[in-house]
C-alpha cells in the first residue's frame, strides 16, 4: 500500500516536471493554426519540422552548434586536464591560484562578452565559428579545470609513484596511468562542457552573425515582430533538447562507473 502511494507520488512529480516538455512536443506535432488549441492532440503532422529546415536557417545553426560545442570541448579539455592535474598534484601557486582560475566565473557574462567581442574584432574572428570555439573554450576552461582537479585528487598518488619507480617519467606516469584511469572523469567533464556550450545564448548572440548563429540564437530569432512562431519554436526546441538527452545518458554512465576500483586495496 505504501509502495503504491509512493509510486503515485513519484508519477505525479514526474508529470509535473515533464509537462512543459511534453506540451512542447505536442505543439511541435500540431499544425500551426492549432498551436494554441485547448484540445490534447487534435491532429498530428511533421510540417513544422519540415518548415523549420526549409524556411529558416535552423539546419545551419544546428550544425554550427554541434561544431562549436564539440570544437570548444576538444580545445579546452587538454588544457583543463593538464592544469587540473597540476593543481591536484603539485603545489602550483597554492590555493590562491586555484581560486584565481575561477575568477572569470565570478563575473557576470555580460562583463566579459564585450571585451571578448572587441578582442575577436581585432583579430577578425567575429562572425566566425573559430572565434566562437576559442571564446567558449576559454569561458568553460575554469569550470572544466575544477571538475578534473577533483577527479585527479581522487586518484591515489601511489599509482604514479608505482609508475615512476617502474621507469616512467612524471609525464609518462600522467600519460600512461593517470589519464587512462581518469578517462570517465574526463569524458564527464567533456559532456558537461558540451552541454554548457550548447545552451549558451549571450556570447553566441553577440559574437555570431546570420551564417554562424547557434541553436539558441536561431530559436530566439523565431520570435519576430510579427509574433512568436510557436509551432516552429517548439519543433526547434525538441531537436535542441535531443543531444542533451543523449549527453545526460553518457554522463550517468561515466559518473556511476567506479573510478579506480581494484587498483588499490
Amino acid at each position: 500500500m505504501r509502495r503504491i502511494a509512493l509510486h503515485l507520488g513519484l508519477l505525479f512529480a514526474c508529470a509535473v516536471i515533464l509537462a512543459p516538455l511534453l506540451w512542447v512536443i505536442r505543439t511541435s506535432l500540431l499544425p500551426e493554426h492549432l498551436s494554441y488549441s485547448p484540445e490534447l492532440m487534435p491532429a498530428a503532422t511533421l510540417d513544422n519540422y519540415v518548415a523549420l529546415f526549409t524556411t529558416t536557417r535552423y539546419g545551419q545553426s544546428y550544425l554550427n552548434s554541434l561544431i562549436v560545442a564539440f570544437g570548444s570541448v576538444v580545445v579546452a579539455l587538454p588544457f583543463a586536464a593538464m592544469t587540473g592535474y597540476a593543481f591536484a598534484r603539485f603545489k602550483t601557486s597554492g590555493r590562491a591560484g586555484r581560486f584565481a582560475v575561477l575568477a572569470t566565473q565570478m563575473l557576470p557574462p555580460v562583463a566579459i562578452v564585450l571585451p571578448a567581442f572587441a578582442l575577436l574584432r581585432t583579430v577578425g574572428l567575429t562572425n566566425s565559428l573559430t572565434g566562437l570555439i576559442i571564446v567558449y573554450a576559454a569561458v568553460n576552461l575554469p569550470f572544466l579545470i575544477w571538475i578534473l582537479m577533483g577527479f585527479f585528487e581522487g586518484i591515489p598518488v601511489d599509482l604514479e609513484w608505482a609508475a615512476q619507480t617502474d621507469g616512467a617519467t612524471a609525464w609518462g606516469a600522467f600519460w600512461r596511468i593517470v589519464l587512462p584511469v581518469s578517462l570517465p572523469g574526463i569524458a564527464a567533464a567533456g559532456v558537461l562542457g558540451f552541454i554548457l556550450t550548447w545552451n549558451e545564448f549571450l556570447f553566441a548572440l553577440v559574437l555570431s552573425g546570420p551564417q554562424t548563429a547557434t541553436v539558441p540564437v536561431a530559436l530566439a530569432s523565431l520570435q519576430t515582430s510579427n509574433g512568436v512562431q510557436i509551432a516552429k519554436v517548439s519543433a526547434g526546441v525538441v531537436l535542441a533538447v535531443l543531444p542533451l538527452v543523449i549527453a545526460s545518458r553518457f554522463i550517468q554512465r561515466f559518473i556511476v562507473q567506479g573510478l579506480t576500483f581494484g587498483s588499490v586495496k
Binding site: P156, D158, L159, W161, A162, A163, Q164, T165, D166, G167, A168, T169, G172, R176, I177, P180, V181, L183, G258, T260, F261, G262, S263, V264, K265
Partner: protein, 379 residues
C-alpha cells in the same frame, strides 16, 4: 652492488617539521631489513626517500656506492611494493607486471618470458588476463610483488605490503616473502608496524620514532636489550611491564623495590647497577618472565587479577600490584602464564618473577641503564 647507505639523511618539511631526522644506516647487499615504528614515525618517508619519491633535505643517500640524491626514481632500479598495491586498474595482470620492462624498452619476447616465470613463482598463471578489480586481496598482493620481481631490481622496498591482508593470509605471505628473499638474494627493506613481521622476517630491525632511528639490531638482540622504554614496550604484545621503583643497596646486594614488589638484583647484573644505588629507576620485565610456580632465585609478588585473556596456547593475566600509594592508582602489569592457570577476576594470586632478564631504565631520559646482555651471559 646493491648496498644502500643512508648517511645522516634528513627530511625537513616546509613548515619546519622533521619527517626524518639524521638517519644513519648501512644496509648490506642481500640484507633483509625491517623499518619498525608507530604510524607517523618517518619509516615510510625514509622508504620513499630511498626510492626517490621524496626529496632529501640533507645528508647523502648511496645505492651500490653511487650517490643518488639527485637521481630520478626510474633511474635507481629499485622496486617498491605499496601498501595499497597501486596496481594499474586499466591494465591486465600481464600488463601490470610487464609495465616496468616495457618502460625500459625490453623486447616483447623477453617480457613475456619474465612474466611467465614470475607468474609461475607466485601462482598467478591463471589470472594473467584479468584486471585487478577481478582479483582477491591476496592475489592483488601477489601481482604487486610480481610487478617488482620481473624487473629484477637491485633492491625491493616494501611499504607495509601485508597490512591489508587477513591474519591467515598475512602469516602465509610472511613466509613466502622470506622464501622469496632467500631465492632472489636481493636487498629488501620492509616497512611495518607489525611486531610479528619485524621479529620473524628480517636480518635486522630498525626501530624508528619521531623521525629518528633509535635502535638497529638483530631482532632477538633488540628484544633482549631495548635501548629505552619505547622500544621495550613497542616490540611485543603484551608489552614489557614498566614499574616505577627505587634501587637500594642492602649489605653486599642490591634491591629494586616499588609499590607492592621487592626484587633482589641477580649477581650477574650487580656490578653494572652498583653505581645506581639510591636512584629512582623504572623496573622493566617482560610478561613471560612472570611465572605461576616458584623457582630458586625468583621473587614472589601478590597480584589482584583484573582480567584473564585465554589465547588457547597461553593465558595472559592482567593484574594490579601495590596499593597505589600517594598517586592512588595501583600499578598494572601483565603476565604470560600457562594455559592451565586460571583465576577469577578480583582474586589475589601469587606470581613468581624471574629477575635475570630484568631491565632498569632512567625515569628522566627513558634510556636503559647498560648491563651485560643476557644472551651473552647465558651463551
Amino acid at each position: 652492488m646493491s648496498s644502500i647507505e643512508l648517511d645522516h639523511v634528513s627530511k625537513l618539511y616546509a613548515n619546519g617539521a622533521y619527517g626524518v631526522r639524521d638517519v644513519d644506516l648501512s644496509i648490506g647487499e642481500g640484507e633483509f631489513v625491517i623499518f619498525l615504528g608507530p604510524s607517523g614515525c618517518g619509516k615510510s618517508t625514509t622508504l620513499r626517500m630511498i626510492a626517490g619519491l621524496e626529496g632529501i633535505t640533507s645528508g647523502d643517500l648511496r645505492i651500490g656506492g653511487r650517490s643518488v640524491n639527485n637521481v630520478a626514481p626510474r633511474d635507481r632500479n629499485i622496486a617498491v611494493v605499496f601498501q595499497s598495491y597501486a596496481l594499474y586498474p586499466h591494465m591486465s595482470v600481464r600488463d601490470n607486471m610487464g609495465f616496468g620492462l616495457k618502460m625500459r624498452g625490453v623486447a616483447r619476447s623477453v617480457i613475456e618470458e619474465k612474466i611467465r616465470d614470475a607468474a609461475g613463482l607466485l601462482g598467478l598463471t591463471p589470472y594473467l588476463d584479468r584486471k585487478p578489480a577481478a582479483l582477491s586481496g591476496g592475489q592483488r598482493q601477489r601481482v604487486a610483488l610480481g610487478r617488482a620481481i620481473v624487473r629484477d631490481p637491485v633492491a625491493f622496498l616494501l611499504d607495509e605490503p601485508l597490512s591489508n591482508l587477513d591474519a591467515q593470509l598475512r602469516a602465509e605471505m610472511r613466509l613466502e616473502l622470506v622464501k622469496l628473499h632467500r631465492r632472489l638474494g636481493r636487498t629488501i627493506v620492509h616497512v611495518t608496524h607489525d611486531q610479528v613481521e619485524a621479529m620473524t622476517m628480517g636480518d635486522r630491525i630498525c626501530i624508528m620514532r619521531e623521525g629518528r632511528m633509535i635502535q638497529v639490531g638483530k631482532p632477538l638482540e633488540v628484544y633482549a636489550d631495548p635501548v629505552d622504554t619505547f622500544v621495550a614496550r613497542f616490540l611485543a604484545t603484551p608489552p614489557m611491564n614498566l614499574l616505577p621503583a627505587r634501587l637500594t643497596g642492602q649489605g653486599d646486594g642490591l634491591v629494586v623495590s616499588g609499590d607492592g614488589f621487592t626484587v633482589e638484583v641477580p649477581d650477574m647484573h650487580r656490578a653494572a647497577y652498583a653505581g645506581l644505588a639510591g636512584r629512582e629507576v623504572i623496573f622493566g620485565l617482560r610478561p613471560e618472565d612472570l611465572h605461576e610456580a616458584p623457582q630458586p632465585g625468583f621473587s614472589r609478588i601478590e597480584v589482584t587479577v583484573v582480567a584473564m585473556e585465554s589465547l588457547g596456547v597461553e593465558n595472559i593475566l592482567v593484574g594490579q600490584i601495590g596499593t597505589g600509594g600517594t598517586a592512588g592508582k595501583p600499578l598494572e602489569l601483565s603476565a604470560r602464564l600457562s594455559r592451565h592457570f586460571t583465576a577469577p577476576v578480583g582474586a589475589r594470586v601469587p606470581l613468581y618473577l624471574d629477575p635475570r632478564p630484568m631491565h632498569l631504565f632512567d625515569p628522566e631520559t627513558t634510556r636503559a641503564f647498560p648491563r651485560p646482555s643476557l644472551r651473552l651471559v647465558t651463551n
